[in-house]
Symmetry: C2
Subunit: 384 residues, 2 copies
Amino acid sequence: MAGDERLARVALTRVLEPGDEAGGRWLREYGAVEVLRRVVAGGAVLPGASEKRWEGLRARGAKVCPERDLAEAAQAGARFICPGEPEWPAQLDDLGDVRPIGLWVRGRPSLRTWALRSVAVVGARACTEYGAHMAATLGAGLAELGWVVVSGGAYGVDGAVHRGALGAGGATVAVLACGVDRPYPRGHTELISRIAAQGLVVGELPPGDHPTPSRFILRNRVIAALTRGTVVVEAAYRSGALVTARSAQRLGRFTMGVPGPATSGLSAGVHELLRGEAVLVTDAAEVAELVGDIGDLAPDRRGPVLPRDLLEPGAARVLAALPGRGTARVAEIARDASTSQDDAIGRLYELQSLGFVERHDDGWKLTRQATRPGRPVFGEGDER
Amino acid sequence: MAGDERLARVALTRVLEPGDEAGGRWLREYGAVEVLRRVVAGGAVLPGASEKRWEGLRARGAKVCPERDLAEAAQAGARFICPGEPEWPAQLDDLGDVRPIGLWVRGRPSLRTWALRSVAVVGARACTEYGAHMAATLGAGLAELGWVVVSGGAYGVDGAVHRGALGAGGATVAVLACGVDRPYPRGHTELISRIAAQGLVVGELPPGDHPTPSRFILRNRVIAALTRGTVVVEAAYRSGALVTARSAQRLGRFTMGVPGPATSGLSAGVHELLRGEAVLVTDAAEVAELVGDIGDLAPDRRGPVLPRDLLEPGAARVLAALPGRGTARVAEIARDASTSQDDAIGRLYELQSLGFVERHDDGWKLTRQATRPGRPVFGEGDER
């Protein structure tokens, strides 16, 4: 994407609300530069915008300063990625005109690579002990099975999921409804920093921007689109987690639910889902079995999809630190690759998405195919 | 069915085990009289019976005395019904060669009529408090919605289901794996007598016969075949309740499961079912919605299927005791019909199956169609 188009998109994250469908149509038809020009410089009203709406957009447009936003983001360790760029997860394009204008990303790993093998686990803020237990167990279990665990960083189920994944030395992504430099909720400041260090914190809103009820709801479509499937752990009727699940359904992703007592109002929403298309799951293996089914990249069936030579130097160093036989722990791998454990975790999940390595409980090992360096590996199938 | 054929079937309930497929084939090909003749009088070995098996059958055949069994049954208030007889529930014929030879029935109401609008609720013996609560709630709720509730009379879920239905002034059927005069388990002697008084106690085994592990398992196919659908409330992996559910599935009946915590081993079997074809249900209304869907006889949509004149005098008296408008309670109806409450309950559920009356919570009222005596009512559809 050309630099000015990119900068215009940065600016537009401050003008258009997430999921603005008319905005998405303008972007598709006129391009970001032209949309921004009209909003900021007083060009012709864009089609379908009422006078009042246009005024609102222009008021916002008057204040944009994309260079400052990028600088602020950089200070918080965040970058901006645009549709079509190398780190852009192509599956977000399934959102059509409600695709994010771009994403602010905090953390080392490649969002695109991580998202290839990711699954969302979401649920009620005011969850029960049971819900928190199931969320943490699923977070840890999916991480141990080599899945990247995506959630919304909220209290309750979301927090338990992230913590479960982090605690298992796993990969986790928090998709926020506010600026990625502005931890929300406040009580999760520490957790979100931890996620940014070991995983990724992602959002559509520019630095410093705050969440609103509609932003929470619209954030859910990003979680749904990014992942291969969404698991709901506890949700009352009309819970936001159900929005994520229905969004996943519409996008053709898998939808799953964790059952609970029929007497629990916090399971009522999940049960409603399970009476529809959603699949009942009770542990991480059942989730992985379902979402892994469609995978081109399931590591025990496929070889690497990228030649070793094309790996980034950091990833190549981590790959070289794995033993030729057997498994190694993250701490050993990090030491041998002369990097931090957080960086090693990020790289290992990237390498797993690319088919070079696989996780077995607490250890990592080379895939069969990756141990045979002489063979052509691009796009090959299972040859065992 | 001719008298000697009938008597031969009575005798054969003491010779052939429930669900004996070869036995069913013999009955179909040779008739009960001939099968009994060969077993008792030493006729030619029936096809497919090994020498050892044949000896076993002959040893049993030597002791049969169907007249004594009928007399003993009568003393316990039980009768014997055969395939093709007026009280035989035709849906049992779906079992093919494992159809019961006949059924011993204790209790006043017509099994055939009751079974038209029945649903099974089964589950673990060693259930949790949660399981017992759900079972009792479903039993009562289904009774209040006018459904006949079928279960196996066992401890745990079964007992709670029967009690729930009885307590709601409802109709319930216990299908036993032993003689209907021999309450099993012993601790349910009182409960089973109560069921025989207000509902029906049914089984394949002749008076005095005892249950065995395989009889418990084979009893389940009768529960499945008799009803429009089976609900499982708590079941560990490889629980007998799952046999009932799978049997229901094979017979094209609805299969339903009540979810529970994913951490509960007693819900694991139910969740396994729910990951297959079974439908998740959390209350009686959801069960009724599902099984009522296929009903020809759902009382609020159809008129009576039988002319009023053809009703038995007892049923006609109960029908006449209902007010022309509004609802009446069982106690009032019983008093006005000069009968017991147990008898009135039996008649009311029969009349409901036949489309004359319907239950609303604690009261009974005439259906719209039943209040218009002049109209032809045989087999007509919804004309509102």
